[in-house]
Symmetry: D2
Subunit: 131 residues, 4 copies
Amino acid sequence: MEQPIFELEFKVRDYELDLQGIVNNSVYQNYLEHARHEYLISKNIDFAALHQQNIDLVVSRIEIDYKAPLKSQDKFVVKLQAAKEGNVRIVFHQWIERLPDGKTMIDAKITGVCLKNGRPIRPEDATGMLW
Amino acid sequence: MEQPIFELEFKVRDYELDLQGIVNNSVYQNYLEHARHEYLISKNIDFAALHQQNIDLVVSRIEIDYKAPLKSQDKFVVKLQAAKEGNVRIVFHQWIERLPDGKTMIDAKITGVCLKNGRPIRPEDATGMLW
Amino acid sequence: MEQPIFELEFKVRDYELDLQGIVNNSVYQNYLEHARHEYLISKNIDFAALHQQNIDLVVSRIEIDYKAPLKSQDKFVVKLQAAKEGNVRIVFHQWIERLPDGKTMIDAKITGVCLKNGRPIRPEDATGMLW
Amino acid sequence: MEQPIFELEFKVRDYELDLQGIVNNSVYQNYLEHARHEYLISKNIDFAALHQQNIDLVVSRIEIDYKAPLKSQDKFVVKLQAAKEGNVRIVFHQWIERLPDGKTMIDAKITGVCLKNGRPIRPEDATGMLW
């Protein structure tokens, strides 16, 4: 895997498990979103505050490879890379490694777009940030 | 879009919205999963009952294109196609159309695998079903 | 049980189950909230639209007695009664009956308050409705 | 407030917010449940492992007073007290204080029962623990 520019540790919570005793597939998107937002906060980009200015960061495409399931009591880290693609898209590469063994549990590519009043704008115009 | 073999109607519930006033990205996976399980039930394949026999249907990969967001009070239909890929994979094409205008909101491809005691088996051996 | 003034049918979705194979406790609040919002919509009170006018209906207290758990494939109906309490509170009595046997699964009392710009107002001033 | 016997820190995640920009009411039950399970783990009582032995800790009643809403970026601590009530019930007093100002956001009383093969047993027989 490439070098992450941001990482965030989590622990599985039992309400995130489904009847198979593993974290439900949709919950990984919650983990990924929270890690992205914390990454943005670390760059002084506040998702909730931007929304107040009619600027919304939205996901246009998601690809997730599920490699192994997280279970009750598992600790893990979400790692993240980000790059611009074309004029208006940001691509996040995000992957989850279980702790402490470092096993890759999911590998994901998330494409985001920045909208102002519903129209795409260059992310650097909204956020002052160059990816 | 191709012809669906199964479809299921839903209505957005307000707790599914996030602070942008649109359905949170992860919630679409819930809609897709529920539609797949209801499809399987319609074929007499019971996800929860299979789990009791140590047979688990798991998602190995998901791709979702988010085209337009669902909002409060929206009604919509999840449509579904399914096909075998190789020996052990089932690929579901699923898409969501808003009602009544039929606008496509998301388009998704979900790859599933059938596990017995944790090892992949041919889905027809687990379910008696030929896709 | 008393006579409901509103009722709404649901079916359990498998992502709502936890590792015990039963609907997770927190999910019942989702069912109750959705039923309340649909009740309000039936009275032309739109929770999301009111929020745009800085009027928020918020829950100040919740009591739920869990009597029996909902499981995979269960169908059920959420039933509802509403009454004013004092000047600013609305009390919803809500209960869930499994279908088709009518067994009571939970019994809940939800107290709501109507806020305008963050301050309590009489619900009839916000909604035009007399409970 | 009384002295807690256990406490656990959290941070709000944006997917937990609803369109009002505040944590959805049902999500607090997730926080409370996770804190209870972590408390039990700290006492070597593993909710998921007990389920494997047909012993289930279930919630029979919940009361929550919502005093002030958590918002994006809020940090908070869930505090907990536990006591036996009668032969088979454990009552958890749980409350949430925002950080760093210590403001009480919710105050909750959760009643739990310990079931073995679906029948109530004394919690000390299931868990070896005296509350």
